[in-house]
Symmetry: C2
Subunit: 398 residues, 2 copies
């Protein structure tokens, strides 16, 4: 029997990804520090997903829907206790790639603490939340084509920024930031013109990935009116390489914070629950924040109901992210603009270096744990990225 | 020889689409009121696109790049004077479908007259243009999955709106509007981290479609801060069924309006030219506006350079639209919120009906003509849509 180190990725977690083996992309499930080749497992008759595991991406399997997801997981739970050695690959011997083709990418803004923190930084002296914030989960579309898998280097973006009232300057972003988020992967599509009610979340959503929505705050401040973020976000969004299926999070649902004022009927959810994911953000190895996902004001089911209430259809591979996860405490914030109070208070990392925003060469890693179905805790696959200098190699501020 | 009515779609125009013939999707080129089956033409050895015309969508052909586009057009220009009858289908006997799979959809805001008109309506008493507007082509990402082909019915979206200072209400949009735009279809992808300079436009962009970016103004006003439009736009965006290749618009380039203040180096284009497309907007048959695309402040090449300057990559099938096309005159505006001055001055249609915004059953059709390469004028394929009532069948304001 192959010896498998399973911490956080025990045989009851079983997240899905795609790995490159001998130059071919193969759907796989992660068991500890190994990947089990699902294309091979299906070809050998060990699992039956109707042939959807033979592609180089998870999209066909995601489209197959809850009955197939359940049946495959049942089989894998049995297989995982003694997986066939010839289908197992050590993770350090394979390359994880983007696990699915992203159709549309939507980013919400659903942490009350994050929205209020940014409001205080951007609109001092005014109410921290805008009037619409507690009535609907504010969101916008991002760039699906630049969603990249964890580990992909992040080239510092250049763009326009303005300091003071003069004309804008062009150059590499000097206020490059992270946003620690949780993303939801849509499997089953919906019809144009047919909203998805708040209680049909599990009919469409397959699972969860960690997200780092890299953000250039100087570009964002200049470009963002009146139509929202564009180049400040579109250069890259990183996601974890392994999708944790909802089924592995059955024990992680907890009541969401109360909502006042009451929401409109299409957003009412009973029971209204969120996921108890405990995030950590590491900056060059130093844990600088521990954002609690359970503190989010809007739940993933409310976000999905809102996203479709105008009749917008879902496609397999749609990804929607929670928005920056920030808790009520200063060491629970999911972005560095919050951590450093708008860049005014540097943080000191374990190596003694001080930072306000990201320097070239910096690495940020977001991890999370959650209650698992067997009483232990599972680990959501990390999302990590290292900043590379812009092609011009100009000096950037720290 | 088959008799072909060619007005606007002469044998030197030759736009590309996809039609369903006997239940199969076939790439085709439009010649007058007929579609020439390109899959069949390639299979018969009449054109050679390296096999890219055998798919059910134009994406493989779009990805093939300028050399293949040129070679195929050369052959089609010769074939079109006497096309083989067995590959010709009358347009009324086939169903045009979405001609390509949309990767990412970006919408710009590049008409100075439109931006200033909206500024006067939304921010009365303040400067009509925001400070960034003349320094960069403002844009945002829209929903690619709800881009639909001309003729697709448009279900009136429901959502949140607020009148006055009270809580928001939920219901069908009462201020449903159009945006007459011109869209650019990307064929050749670009690498992540590598901007596309302003002079490389023609290396990547294949052609042009008309766009109607349907907009629910009441939803937009309530949801839009601080992250921009979301559900107000994401329910549907219509595009023409036939893509006019850039090669058919060689004679349509004209100098763009002067830019003051000067733009940053990455946006400098010499000569800086736009397309002389003459749009018309028909509301239930009545021409209510004639927006001149030549009046756009930002050119399509500047838009592409801006879109990628942060290192964002392009994919085959990316679509970016110009933003609402409005000229300087009141009868040249590309949206009804402008035409009716924020809904305060109704327009009277030819049948005597009065309108401020769209009523259920209304049809809007956007057309355009342009100078063709043979000295005549060509017609860009129309984009049309009819408003269907929401499922709840509630009464909507006119």
């Amino acid at each position: 029997m192959t010896e498998i180190a399973t911490e956080g990725f025990s045989s009851t977690h079983l997240p899905y990804g795609v790995v490159t083996v001998d130059g071919r992309r193969r759907p796989a499930v992660r068991i500890g520090d190994h990947a089990l080749d699902l294309a091979g497992a299906e070809a050998a008759g060990l699992v039956d997903a109707g042939g959807t595991l033979q592609a180089g991406t998870l999209n066909p399997f995601l489209a197959a829907g809850p009955a197939v997801w359940r049946a495959v997981r049942e089989r894998l739970l049995a297989l995982a206790t003694d997986p066939p050695a010839k289908l197992l690959h050590r993770l350090d011997a394979v390359t994880p790639v983007l696990p699915f083709e992203v159709a549309d990418y939507v980013d919400f803004y659903s942490s009350e603490h994050h929205a209020a923190n940014l409001g205080r930084i951007l609109r001092p002296g005014q109410p921290p939340l805008l009037p619409n914030w507690k009535h609907l989960p504010v969101g916008y579309h991002g760039r699906a084509g630049t969603v990249v898998v964890s580990g992909t280097p992040i080239v510092r973006p250049s763009g326009q920024r303005r300091t003071g009232d003069g004309p804008p300057e062009f150059g590499p972003s000097q206020r490059l930031d992270v946003e620690a988020e949780v993303g939801f992967v849509v499997g089953v599509p919906s019809r144009l013109g047919a909203p998805v009610p708040v209680d049909r979340f599990a009919d469409h959503v397959f699972g969860v990935v960690l997200v780092n929505d890299w953000s250039a705050r100087d570009l964002q401040a200049w470009e963002g009116q009146p139509l929202g973020p564009f180049l400040a976000k579109s250069f890259a969004t990183s996601i974890g390489a392994w999708i944790t299926p909802l089924a592995a999070l059955d024990a992680a649902w907890v009541p969401a914070p109360p909502q006042d004022p009451p929401v409109l009927p299409y957003l009412r959810q009973e029971p209204r629950h969120g996921l108890d994911l405990a995030l950590t953000v590491r900056w060059n190895g130093t844990v600088v924040s521990r954002p609690p996902f359970a503190s989010m004001y809007w739940t993933p089911a409310q976000q999905l109901a809102h996203l479709t209430v105008n009749g917008a259809s879902l496609r397999t591979g749609d990804l929607y992210a929670s928005g920056t996860v920030s808790g009520p405490e200063p060491d629970q914030v999911g972005s560095f603009v919050e951590l450093t109070r708008g860049g005014t208070e540097p943080v000191t990392l374990a190596d003694g270096e001080q930072r306000r925003f990201l320097a070239d060469g910096d690495t940020v890693t977001i991890e999370a744990t959650a209650p698992g179905v067997d009483g232990g805790r599972i680990t959501l696959a990390e999302v990590t990225g290292t900043i590379q200098p812009p092609s011009g190699a100009e000096v950037t501020a720290r």
